[in-house]
């Protein structure tokens, strides 16, 4: 629902992301707030925001594959790891600058994903879930054994550098990662409002109808997966520069499951939903990490470890409750709220 008096006259106006002056203003305010955050927030929170931004990219990729094109991918963490490893490999052995290694990591990940995407795209059903699950297990096998990738010790890399500036501290990395994230989010919005994005939605909703309309379903299913994993690869590259260390232990099946949980909680089929889900669940995790020791102190008979173990139950329960009671996620509630205040005082 758009604000009153906003109507598109041309196709360009119709597909615009930002439609009204107020939206421009709010967007500008948000960006200013985002980029001045290190000035007034303590470093601890900046670290949390960086992690959220990196994971957000992987989750947006998953949203394009799963939420828009309806193909389940339970290997997103492994694809993120592939991006991280390739980025680290190029930076470690060839000392390439980050603006080359990060996109190269993304591209390499997308290339790998084609191998696992095409068998599943040929047939109807949830076969992508199975091939991506297979990749989840093949990923550590490959990177622990390929020469030059550091084996079980992993790879460590030098900080990112742009000319004379090196991104070492949390704050400088924050700016770097935020710029990349904002660009990638814009890229994601641009994909889903274009012909490609509409084709994804058509394939998800009715693949037979999509085929009749002239959409090459096989091609678009593979493409949705490739684009989604490209995002994961970029996220992995940023991860590599943030921790400056890459190991297969950092990318497990449980991370992939968390990512899926984030798009369910946020809302399937919406980039905003992916962002909301990431911030929400990641925030919940940080809250429990913060509250855990305090709760263990005040209620000593329960024990400290239980709170962290309980996180699994909590997340599982949250996913199940959302699927049962609000399968369209938080973003749907947000849209309802928006429609309500835009229509107010009229009921419809």
């Amino acid at each position: 629902m758009l604000p009153c008096g906003t109507y598109p006259r041309t196709y360009n106006e119709d597909k615009a992301i930002v439609r009204t002056r107020l939206q421009w203003l709010l967007l500008l305010l948000f960006l200013i707030l985002l980029f001045t955050a290190p000035l007034f927030l303590p470093t601890r929170y900046i670290g949390i925001i960086i992690m959220m931004a990196i994971i957000c990219l992987a989750v947006i990729g998953l949203q394009i594959t799963t939420g828009y094109a309806g193909q389940i991918n339970i290997g997103q963490a492994a694809f993120m790891g592939t991006g991280a490893y390739v980025t680290a490999y190029l930076a470690h052995h060839f000392e390439l600058p980050f603006w080359l290694t990060v996109p190269a990591g993304g591209a390499a990940t997308a290339l790998v994903s084609v191998i696992f995407g095409f068998p599943a795209a040929r047939v109807k059903g949830l076969y992508l879930a199975l091939t991506s699950l297979a990749f989840m297990f093949i990923f550590p096998f490959i990177f622990l054994r390929l020469p030059g990738f550091g084996g079980t010790e992993g790879l460590s890399i030098k900080p990112a550098a742009l000319g004379p500036v090196t991104f070492v501290g949390t704050t400088s990395l924050y700016y770097l990662i935020m710029v990349v994230s904002v660009l990638m989010v814009f890229f994601a919005y641009s994909i889903v409002r274009s012909r490609i994005g509409r084709a994804f939605t058509a394939v998800r909703d009715a693949d037979n109808a999509a085929e009749i309309l002239g959409i090459n379903v096989f091609y678009y299913k593979t493409m949705a997966f490739v684009i989604g994993t490209f995002f994961a690869g970029i996220a992995g590259g940023l991860w590599a520069y943030y921790f400056r260390f890459v190991n297969t232990e950092q990318f497990t099946l449980f991370h992939s499951i968390w990512f899926l949980g984030m798009i369910i909680v946020g809302g399937m089929g919406s980039i905003l939903g992916a962002i909301i889900g990431t911030v929400g669940l990641r925030g919940l995790e940080e809250l429990i990490t913060y509250l855990g020791p305090i709760l263990a102190e005040t209620l000593p008979f329960i024990g400290g470890k239980v709170w962290f173990a309980g996180m699994n139950i909590l997340l599982g329960a949250v996913i199940i409750l959302f699927i049962i009671f609000e399968p369209r996620g938080i973003v749907h509630r947000w849209n309802i709220l928006k429609a309500t205040y835009r229509l107010w005082p009229f009921p419809y």
Binding site: T66, G70, I72, I74, F116, P119, A120, R122, V123, K124, G125, L126, Y127, A129, L130, T131, L133, A134, F137, I138, F141, L144, R145, D207, N208, E211, V217, F218, F254, I257, L260, G261, I264, M268, K305, V306, A309, G310, M311, N312, I313, L314, L315, G316, A317, I319, I320, I323, I324, P327
Partner: protein, 294 residues
Amino acid sequence: MIGFLQWTFSGVLIGLLYALIALGLVVVWRSGRIVNLAQGEIVVFGGFVIGTFTLLFSQVWWVGLLISFGLLALVGVLVERGIFRPIVGQPLLSLFMVTIALILVFRGVTLVTWGAEPRSFPTIFPAEMVNLGPFGFDSALFWGGIVSLLLVVALTLFFERTKWGLRLSAVAEDHQVAEALGISVTTAIMLAWIIAALLGGFASIVFLNGKTLTLMASMIGFRGVAVAILAGLESVRGVLLAGIIVGICESWARGYIDPYTGGGMSEILPFLIMVGVIIWRPQGLFGWKIIERV
């Protein structure tokens, strides 16, 4: 030659264990197109339950065993009542996500109740090796394999001969038709989860008898997925052959490829087989041919 045969036979036994896990997947899939990725977590959960109760009733361990299986059946009922009943008829995507959430719930409950420390699993099958001629076998795998064979035969007969089994098969074909014929889909799903939970408990005995029980044991569930895909997700008796094929391939890989790749090849071989099956024969060896190309 003896070495080759030994690898082959132990592969067959491991394959029978995989068939047991895959059976849990197939039964649940037939009840409503639900890919039961949580079977591995059920095995671990069942392992902890059985370990706790057999230790509690150490003198009369079979009482503990009975109580554990009763508890597992109850878990099956709870899964259906609490989770699957409200979302019957939802898109496959939601059903799939719910099983993924189930992985987390089972893992979380196990962690909260028993903690993450590895513990030793009771020895229910005799610990000594079974020797047949020149070959030695792990006794739990050996006897468990024989019981798995019987279980597959029994379940096949159940699905093809008994009234209840036929009802479940009707549900596997089509939910709406089954409902129209007066067959309760929700009851079928509940029965399927009870069977899956019991099979998981039994698999944990076969798998972990006298060994250490860690959370990593849940990985076997995903090998079960590979076996079920090779068998065809609808095929109860197919899991036997598929399990044996995967088991033998894995065992050969362990014997002849692992020394060259520094281990690990046998770990991922089931998944390579799974990807191969999806490329060449998505319905599996014995699955129903309802695969649609788009």
